[in-house]
């Protein structure tokens, strides 16, 4: 397949690995911010092909994983109202809230629909005029423009029964918070290619300018990742720090200004609660006042007080302070069939990925 096969070439991959071995001398920690990157590293077996002294850390870039219990509990409470039809992306279904999950609520007969695009929720609103259709809006800057488009379209069409439970997150403030917390040593970042497709390079410039950390905006195929690691290793070994673009076939310096302007029309930057990272200033997307009638938080419901499983380390895993195998629940109590924390639920969650791909050879 064009633009795929070229980036899965075995000979080039092995050439890149050789060059990484030649250049890399210092032990380093590289954070792949995006869950899709974590999956690619495992899926192509790249982790075992790199020098042992390069340690890859999974970052907070899994939208399902960073959504706190409060938001899931609120979605569950909304779905229990007879007049609500809840629309959600598929991978939110199994995420455990404090005492239930959307999957369990669906089995109880609540009206919960899986959608593939935010625009599907607009269609659902038109098809079900007697219901309040609530879209559980989760995602990063990759997903937010489509959510903004849906909101603006519904508003201009005068749709009265579509609501948004905004839980989207912005990536750059989270990386700043991670570096400020100093809980974990990160020598370089592999930045999320598709978030940067929207935002461009500039919002990440602080990584090199303020924190002197090298960063590479990377694609998702094996050659993309190997080249990104090679570029980072080069910067580290030369004591340089800049934000480079490896994913040049997609990412532009200035990002996608149209998408950014749609987000700005619909959303206001706001403080947001992240699982593991806590409240981070400017990392959330609140609806602009002009659209406040579409805010699902205006629908009255009783929400149970949030409760975390005491042993779950998802919070620390999202900050890369711990790895999944260090969690006492991993593979014992917490399993993809009965996940305790969200990182075991999402196909891009660190725990699920470790579980799926790194089972010890027996």
């Amino acid at each position: 397949m064009k633009f795929i096969d070229e980036f899965r070439n075995k000979e080039i991959a092995q050439g890149l690995i050789r060059r990484i071995f030649e250049v890399s001398a210092r032990p380093i920690h590289l954070m792949e911010v995006c869950g899709t990157h974590t999956v690619s590293f495992f899926r192509y077996g790249i982790r075992d092909m790199l020098p042992k002294h390069i340690r890859l850390l999974s970052g907070p870039g899994c939208p399902v994983c960073v959504t706190p219990n409060q938001n899931i509990d609120l979605a569950i409470a909304l779905s229990r109202r007879d007049d609500v039809l809840l629309a959600t992306f598929g991978d939110m279904m199994r995420v455990p809230g404090s005492t239930s999950s959307l999957q369990k609520e669906k089995a109880e007969g609540r009206r919960i629909r899986i959608v593939y695009s935010p625009l599907d929720s607009l269609r659902l609103a038109k098809e079900n005029p007697e219901k309040k259709v609530v879209f559980l809006a989760v995602g990063f800057e990759t997903t937010s423009p489509a959510i903004a488009m849906t909101l603006l379209k519904a508003h201009s069409e005068g749709i009265q029964n579509l609501y948004f439970l905004n839980s989207q997150k912005r990536v750059p403030p989270a990386l700043r918070a991670l570096l400020q917390s100093e809980k974990v040593q990160i020598h370089g970042f592999i930045l999320p290619g598709h978030v940067c497709t929207i935002l461009g390079r500039e919002p990440f410039a602080f990584l090199s300018e303020e924190f002197k950390r090298p960063a590479v905006i990377a694609g998702f195929e094996p050659l993309d990742l190997l080249q990104a690691v090679w570029m980072l290793v080069n910067q580290v070994e030369k004591d340089q720090a800049s934000v480079e673009i490896q994913y040049t076939r997609v990412v532009r310096d200035q990002g996608n200004p149209v998408a950014v302007s749609k987000m700005e029309q619909a959303f206001q930057q706001d403080e947001a609660l992240w699982r593991g990272l806590g409240w981070i200033p400017g990392s959330g997307c609140r609806l602009k006042d002009a659209f406040s009638s579409m805010d699902a938080r205006r629908i009255e419901v009783d929400v149970e007080p949030p409760r975390e499983h005491p042993g779950c380390l998802c919070g620390e895993i999202l900050q890369a302070v711990r790895t999944p195998p260090e969690c006492p629940l991993f593979k014992t109590v917490c399993h993809p069939d009965h996940p305790v924390g969200p990182c075991m639920v999402s196909v891009e969650g660190a725990c699920f990925t470790y579980f799926k791909y790194e089972q010890t050879q027996s």
Binding site: T36, G45, P63, D91, I114, Y116, Q359
Partner: protein, 336 residues
């Protein structure tokens, strides 16, 4: 069973489905014919071993590119019979119909079932119809059971794989699941992807003529190639190593998987089979498969090993390795 309720994931063909069978169903219905858990039971009488199997079909939408629930209900059961080396003989067909269902659609579905039965040279010899109140079933459910006579000297089973054996697949994986998904969700993708829904008894006949010592056949339906091979690895207590570059997947299916974050190894098929045969027979089996329309795109995709028993591993395109586990839960498309 977690929480005492049936979840959608119990029907997805993965670990929870497996647990449902082994924890809830088997302990109640256990008998020597059912216990080997092959795709059909073997019942021995004076005329030789008989294969007997049953399956229920619930699918949304009822009509999809390349087939419908009627064709599916016949092909699925014919294929289960074929996987134990039986010549399919007779089918039963039971319908559970929701009140208000269109008679015209029912006729179309039954005609399609008849056509599939003709193609597979099998007779539908018994059946049943129930209608339930509106809302008590989703349009139409079909159950088919089938019997067939197992060819003399043939013993195909998931317990037969041996180190050194070759693993083959009869063609492109995932067509059925992606065709149905695209139709149901109205993705409007370009291209004419069709379900692979087809009877496989003709192909199996050719393969057994070429190699009567075939060890094992499976049709990788729900849970896909990965789940079927994990079952074989587990029951034969062997390892299986796959070559990612050799696994046939259509570009349109691969593209959809890339978009939605699905793994083609776990997608359902309705007209494909996996074969395991002794290594010295592999080329002959492959040739026989490719000579049949249902096996035109057959490939050798891996081998059975002594190392890593009960585990399936994949040699990736760039030369790395990874574990291919059983499907857990339902595959949900990712967010971004």
């Amino acid at each position: 069973m977690p929480e005492g309720k049936i979840l959608l994931a119990h029907g997805s063909g993965g670990k929870l489905s497996h647990d449902l069978v082994s924890d809830i169903l088997l302990p109640r219905f256990s008998n020597p014919f059912l216990e080997p858990l092959d795709d059909s039971a073997r019942i021995t009488n004076q005329e030789g071993p008989l294969a007997f199997t049953t399956d229920s079909y619930v699918i949304n939408p009822l009509f999809f590119p390349g087939g419908d629930i009627g064709k599916l209900a016949v092909c699925g059961t014919v294929n289960d019979l074929s996987m134990v080396g039986a010549v399919p003989s007779c089918l039963s067909l039971s319908l559970i119909i929701e009140e208000g269902f269109s008679i015209e659609l029912l006729e179309r579905i039954l005609s399609s079932a008849r056509d599939a039965a003709e193609e597979a040279s099998i007779r539908i010899v018994t059946g049943d119809t129930k209608v339930v109140e509106h809302g008590a079933a989703d349009q139409l459910f079909i159950t088919t059971s089938g019997i067939g006579w197992i060819r003399k000297g043939v013993h195909l089973s998931g317990v037969n794989a041996r180190p050194g054996d070759t693993v083959l697949v009869s063609g492109f994986l995932g067509d059925h699941e992606i065709a149905v998904l695209s139709q149901r969700e109205g993705f409007g993708f370009q291209g004419e992807l069709k379900s692979d829904c087809a009877p496989l008894n003709g192909l199996v006949g050719r393969m057994l003529e070429a190699c009567p010592t075939l060890r094992c056949l499976r049709d990788p339906t729900r849970g896909g190639l990965a789940t079927s091979l994990n079952e074989i690895a587990s029951r034969s207590r062997v390892g299986i190593v796959l070559e990612e570059a050799q696994i046939p997947v259509r570009e349109s299916v691969l593209g959809t998987c890339e978009l939605l974050g699905l793994d083609p190894l776990y997608l359902a098929n309705e007209g494909k089979l996996i074969a395991i045969c002794p290594p010295q027979e592999a080329e002959r089996v492959l040739e026989a498969m490719r000579a049949h329309p249902s096996g035109k795109h057959a490939e050798i995709i891996g081998r059975v090993t002594e190392e890593n028993p009960k585990r399936v591993t994949l040699q990736t395109l760039i030369g790395g390795h990874r574990v291919v586990d059983m499907l857990t839960g339902t595959q949900y498309p990712r967010i971004c």
